[in-house]
């Protein structure tokens, strides 16, 4: 620390930041460490081993986990694709559609899935599906996830679009591109980092969702979170810690990917300044 007076600096804020990171990462790191514990007991340390990782893939519950993983990933990919497409269209309509009556109402509707508490969404969706006689299963989960993911995809996409100068599209139109070509060759390539960020966020939100899925999954169908929850209800077991660690690493890989795509997008966007 240099000794000149720094107007921005407040003593203790650094320590609190470190504390914040310890709180955020501590439990995760401890579970990671214990996932390599050779012992059957989760309390005693029995040396390092990968046995619980092997157990996930070959053990008694492996079939259940594999089915859950398949459900989770296939639902997440489809929900993310559909919600990203809907959110991209909505973002262009909202941000490049001029001023119109009902703009605020439209925004409120798009944000509704974020504003309504998750448990309320879960209850409402369950009641809705059971009233119209929609069979609970992977399809009901997919529909609910798509709805829930739209605002999460919308946020980064609309943020990106707002940062794009409208003169690019005007230039494209001026240079004889029609509306579709303007979108295809100019707007979409420039807003692409936002679309990818929106897709990744929607994907992870779907993958992580427990509350809504738990309500509407129907009998016999599990996703990874509901499977983990079911196991944890009977007590934390080492194989769950290994499974959690894998999911955790996957999430970190995704956020890293999203981070680098965001950085590239920024670099691209700064060219005109």
């Amino acid at each position: 620390m240099d000794r000149t007076f720094d107007i921005k600096h407040y003593r203790g804020f650094f320590s609190i930041t470190c504390l914040c990171l310890v709180i955020l990462y501590g439990p995760l790191i401890i579970v990671m460490i214990y996932s390599f514990n050779d012992s059957v007991s989760i309390t005693n340390w029995g040396g390092i081993s990968l046995r619980w990782y092997v157990e996930i893939f070959t053990g008694l519950e492996s079939a259940k986990f594999k089915a859950a993983a398949w459900n989770s990933f296939s639902i997440a990919i489809m929900a993310a694709i559909v919600s990203t497409v809907i959110a991209t269209a909505a973002a262009i309509g909202m941000i490049r559609g001029g001023n119109f009556k009902g703009k605020f109402a439209s925004f409120a509707l798009i944000s509704l899935p974020i504003m309504v508490p998750e448990i309320v969404t879960a209850v409402a969706t369950l009641i809705f599906f059971s009233t119209i006689g929609f069979k609970l299963g992977t399809l009901s989960i997919l529909v609910a996830h798509t709805v829930f993911c739209i605002p999460f995809a919308y946020l980064p996409i609309s943020a990106r679009l707002q940062g794009i100068d409208a003169s690019y599209e005007e230039a494209a139109q001026d240079l004889f591109a029609n509306r579709w070509k303007t979108f295809r060759y100019v707007l979409m390539p420039i807003m692409w980092p936002g679309i990818v960020a929106g897709f990744l966020l929607a994907f992870i939100i779907s993958l992580d969702d427990f509350i809504i899925t738990n309500f509407i999954k129907g009998a016999g169908i599990e996703t990874l979170p509901t499977a983990i929850f079911g196991s944890v209800k009977q007590g934390i077991k080492p194989n769950i810690m290994a499974l959690s660690t894998l999911l955790l690493l996957f999430s970190i890989a995704l956020v890293t990917l999203s981070y680098f795509i965001g950085k590239r997008g920024e670099a691209n966007q700064n060219t005109q300044q």
């Binding site: 107007i7 921005k8 600096h9 407040y10 203790g12 804020f13 650094f14 609190i16 930041t17 990171l21 955020l24 439990p27 995760l28 401890i30 579970v31 214990y34 309390t43 497409v85 959110a87 269209a89 909505a90 262009i92 309509g93 909202m94 490049r96 559609g97 001029g98 001023n99 119109f100 439209s106 509707l109 899935p113 504003m115 508490p117 448990i119 309320v120 969404t121 209850v123 409402a124 969706t125 009641i127 809705f128 709805v147 739209i150 100068d165 599209e169 139109q173 509306r179 992580d208 427990f210 944890v232 934390i236 769950i240 810690m241 959690s244 999911l247 955790l248 999430s251 970190i252 956020v255």
Partner: protein
Amino acid sequence: MAAGTGSGSTVSAIFSPVRFWLLLPSWVVIGFFLLVPVLLMLTYSFLTKEFRGGVIWEFSLASYDQFLFDRGLFGDEAPVIKWTYINIFIRSILQAFGATIFCLLIGFPTAYFIATRPIQSRTIWLFLITVPYWVNLLIRTVSMKFLIRDSGPLNELLLYIGLIDAPLHVINTNFAVQLGLFYSYLPFMVLPIYASVERYNFTFSEVASDLYASKVTILWEVILPVVKPGIIAGSILVFVPSLGAFLAPDLLGGAKTFMIGSLIEDQFKGNAGNWPFGAAASMILLSLVLVVLMFYVRAQNKDQT
């Protein structure tokens, strides 16, 4: 600056002729699969319950009555205010409020510290805060349960150091739930505050300092008022999901720490099996959240004028 000098109202409108078709999918999907279900839920809360889930389509105020009053075992006594459910709501509000305060106490200094780093290291700090936000909430809550349980690593560490003689009993207490909520939603507090501190113009601080304000005074009288929108946004983002939280009270708490989320879940998935009552409890929760959001919108509008 594309629109430039011409006029005040140059909202880009290149896609306005097809606006309707661009917005239609989101309206239909969210309207049909969320707005309609919420209205249906409102209807359900006024219906008669059928045992083992489901409803009978007969109008009834029984759910709201059950929420507020006790009419004895057979329902024939004079109504007395029943505190069971009201208490659950009050406990939920207090827990959510507590989580918001704790998140603010840790989150503001963190956000401020990160926003005042040089640009290179700032992105790394920010990345570190963002990662937990992307990690599965269930996994994070389970990790917390693993850490703080009676024979968990935290107690072992404290025993080993000699700070305590017997394991601290944290799990299944209100404090554990509080800790869980705080831990779940801490990144939600840091990110919006960071965004507003980053936009804060530090010349204000320098001006205040030049005019004889101490650093503490600058923090209270200049920085906090200017970054208030970020603080309010962060508080809403922590308070609202905490209010309806299910995982933290369910996994870290016990029977005595029941919150709204668990109460609702119990009506549909658990033993209670009372759909209209669950719908009514959900409606009350939703109303609470809408009140908070309206307060937020009003606070924002006031800041803008």
